[in-house]
Amino acid sequence: MKQPVQQISRAAVVWQLVAFVAVVVPHLIWMPFWIPLFCLAMIACRLMIHSGRWSFPHWSIKLLLMLITAAGLLLTFDKQSLLSGTVSLLVLGLSLKLLEIYHRRDALVLIYVAYFVATTIFLFEQEMWVALLCFIAILLVTAALNSVWQDPQRIDYKRPLVQSCRVLFPAIPLMLLLFLLFPRIEPLWSVQLDRSAAVTGLSDTMAPGDISQLTRSGAMAFRVVFDGEPPPPAQRYWRAMVYSQFDGRQWSQASLQSSQSAESLITLSEPLEYQIIQERTGRNWMFALDMPVSSGQVTDGVLTRTRTLESKSTIESRLHYRLQSSTAYQLGADLSGDERARYTRIPASSNPRTQALSEQLWQDAGQQPDRYIDALLGLFNREFTYTLQPPRMEQHSIDQFMLEHQRGFCEHFAGAFAFMLRAAGIPARVVGGYQGGEWNPYQGYLLLRQYDAHAWTEVWLEGEGWVRIDPTAAVAPQRIEQSLDSLFADDPGFLADNPVSALRVTRSGVMLQLRLYYEGANFAWHRWVLHYQGEQEQLLRNWLGELSPLRMILALMLPASFVLGWVAWMQLGQTATIRRDPVDRALHRLLKRLAKKGIPRHPEESLQAYCARLAQERPDLSKPLRQMALLDEQQRYGQNSSPEHRRELLELIRACHRSL
């Protein structure tokens, strides 16, 4: 059957506008500014039409607007940003559609596309507040959907929202069930997320001042969950990369030697098992606690020669991986000639004064590596200052650091220490990564921020292999034992990039607890919701035991039918039964009785015809039956519907019933 074209109510038009705004608002976080402006203009136009000041636009105006948006899209987005381009196209299309909603069908197109656009926000941002905004958007779009199906003459702005809540809130338990149980399958075809701006973090090279720059940022680098107890703070060295080349000013990584196997490792303690949840870096390296035993269950992860982890592809979204590390170990007992040469190489002409100083100290130490190292650390401890804002150092930066300023951050100490070891012919290298971390007691994980970035040194000693020595610990032991936060809380350079960061005001007391609680919730969100595919199997096994299709279906159907039963009860349960008309009731009983006696009434048979037929079969009843049919007819056609007549009819029906 063809439906007539349906106009929608004025309230419904307003609801379309509300739904549109609700859907676009979360997208403001990434959209080029002109798109929201264009949308606002379209909303204004629609309001002018709505209030009767303008009429619906001519097709030429619509065409013009379409050309404008097409040109804008082509100028704004390139091939790299296919995703944001597509979503922008949908949003602009919706805004143009606003101008021509008049019939139900237009509104339905708008609403269904709006549902889709509301969901696409998750391809750009997945934090809790975004999920909340998206839920609100879906709630309002659903209200708009209801308003479209309302009586076009009725203007009720509130009722659609009520209806929307009544359908969506019972849908939440169903959503949770499906979310928990629906099998997560591999992508059907490969898709690409848009690459966004670079993020702060470690870099491939380390020059003086690089790491102290990172203390300006409180951004999250990664989080760690340990299967057992976390290691003590002094052992929380997170290895990211090894800088083995020095060019006189900056340290850099050696070119990747993927063909070579990792340096040999003898573990001296039970390995710790842990999971790392790494934020997007846009780079390849991953993080591991000193010293990773193997690359573990890391898809795409490779253990390099220097026992750092590298991903084969750049890390463009949050990455979860499990690792094993041993905190007591012996690394690289043998050193080849090539390697010894590489790890002792320094440019001959660089930092001559430091080279001379090294020579002198080496001689003083009787050419004993142990005593030489102690002498260097003692020197740092006595004469040097650990500071967030070291003076700028230009040419021969190590000379300037060692002999003039004697103030620096961890990269200065690590760099100078490794340089002086190499100057004395001892193999040494700088390791870059993070140190420490903030323990969250609510969710039991360690959070490392950019300002936890750190650099330290590894020295190769005969019979011991590569030994970690952190010169910063000699200057500022609190940095290692506690955190940078406690050391530099009031330093103007600390967290300079986050002037209004919550970290500033939440150092202790209730505020600290609140912040930890919030971050804990965020962590649980990232782990259990955003990365549910990583936890699903284990979780379901814990709940359901062995996973069979039957159990999965039962686990879905039982709670779902409970929910739906509850909704049905809420909807229908309070039905107060309508009191039936006594005549109807008596007639119904009589007909049932007759049907039992084998003379049922045919579906299309009128009561009159039925009574006539009955009278033939039961001549004894023919008179009351005919009378009854007549009275019924009269009542029905409005001639005699007085109470007396009704009573009479009732009596007749009962009489027939009795004489059966």
Binding site: Y112, Q150, Q163, R166, V167, L188, L530, H588, E633
Partner: protein, 329 residues
């Protein structure tokens, strides 16, 4: 074309099956036994949307997109119950059918009752042959509606099963039911103007309509029926909101007119009935007693609405098959 034929055949078969399950009765409360529910076209489009969202979630391995998809899926399921409950519990009582002339719409009065705590919106009532009626039941717990049905020919108009359907609240599903009401309305022959009054009445029937109107005594009110003169409507009563009534007058004269079947030999049966129908309506506007002679039946002259109804009914059911006339007895 063929498919359309096939689907309409199927629809009729389903309808017949549904009606067999629920025999005719005057009063029906809608329950799961009679309510059928299926997704609409826009419900199908919604499923397509869900499918696209699921693809998005799978390909981007995006758990929040999964969640949004499942939320909308849950909504789809829950809306079945909402649509169903927008019919369930409603009680429909067939009240009466109102006579009309062939070619017009016959009106049928239905009484709707809702339980105290339930509301119904956008209910769509229709007979198979007739315009649908959209209705919200949010106010009074009991309302009467008048539902029209095309009445193409004289005799009893049986409107067939009553269809009640709704797509509220989200248009994703259509819940519907068919009810056999066994209501019927008498359809009078379509009045065919023209001709003169039969010769027996000549000399007395001139300008009858106007002459006696003011001089007769008002004797009471009667229900307004189609075909009555609008001049007889008791407008004051109507303005008080008590419905359309017509004033009745008692005539003080005894001029008698006979309408005769043989008066128009040139016309065929149906045309003759139509012509007689026209004259009955015309004479009913006057206070002139009039009678009717049909082959094998004579209705003595009288005035008033009872006479008018009797004669029109006789014309309506004239020579119709036995089953149709039955109720006349």
């Amino acid at each position: 074309m063929k498919i359309g034929h096939w689907t309409s055949g199927l629809r009729h078969r389903i309808q017949a099956w549904a009606l067999r399950r629920s025999p005719a009765s005057r009063s029906v409360t809608l329950t799961q036994k009679r309510i059928y529910i299926l997704p609409t076209l826009s419900g199908m489009m919604f499923l397509l949307l869900l499918f696209l969202l699921l693809l998005l979630a799978i390909n981007y391995q995006n758990n929040l997109a999964y969640a949004a998809t499942f939320l909308l899926g849950g909504m789809f399921i829950v809306s079945i119950l909402h649509t169903y409950s927008n019919l369930a519990g409603l009680r429909i009582t067939a009240v009466s059918g109102h006579p009309c002339f062939a070619g017009e719409m016959a009106g049928f009065t239905l009484k709707l009752q809702r339980p105290e705590k339930r509301v119904y919106e956008q209910l769509d009532f229709s007979w198979q042959e007739g315009p649908p009626l959209m209705l919200d039941m949010t106010g009074d717990t009991q309302v009467q509606i008048e539902l029209a049905c095309h009445a193409p020919s004289r005799g009893w108009c049986q409107p067939g099963p009553l269809r009640i359907q709704t797509r509220y609240p989200f248009g994703l599903f259509r819940a519907w039911t068919w009810i056999n009401t066994d209501l019927r309305a008498l359809v009078y022959p379509r009045p065919l103007p023209g001709g003169d009054l039969p010769p027996v009445a000549s000399g007395e029937g001139e300008g009858l309509e106007m002459r006696h109107e003011g001089s007769d005594d008002f004797s009471g009110l009667t229900r307004f029926e189609p075909g009555m003169s609008p001049r007889r409507v008791a407008w004051k009563v109507f303005a008080r909101g008590q419905g359309m009534h017509a004033s009745e007058y008692v005539a003080h004269h005894d001029r008698k007119l006979w309408l005769d079947w043989d008066g128009w030999p040139a016309l065929n049966v149906e045309q003759r009935l139509s012509r007689l129908s026209y004259w009955v309506v015309r004479l009913a506007h006057t206070n002139q007693p009039y009678g009717l002679r049909l082959p094998g039946k004579v209705y003595p002259p009288a005035t008033g609405d009872a006479q008018r109804q009797r004669l029109l009914q006789a014309l309506a059911l004239f020579r119709l098959p036995e089953t149709q006339v039955e109720a006349e007895r």
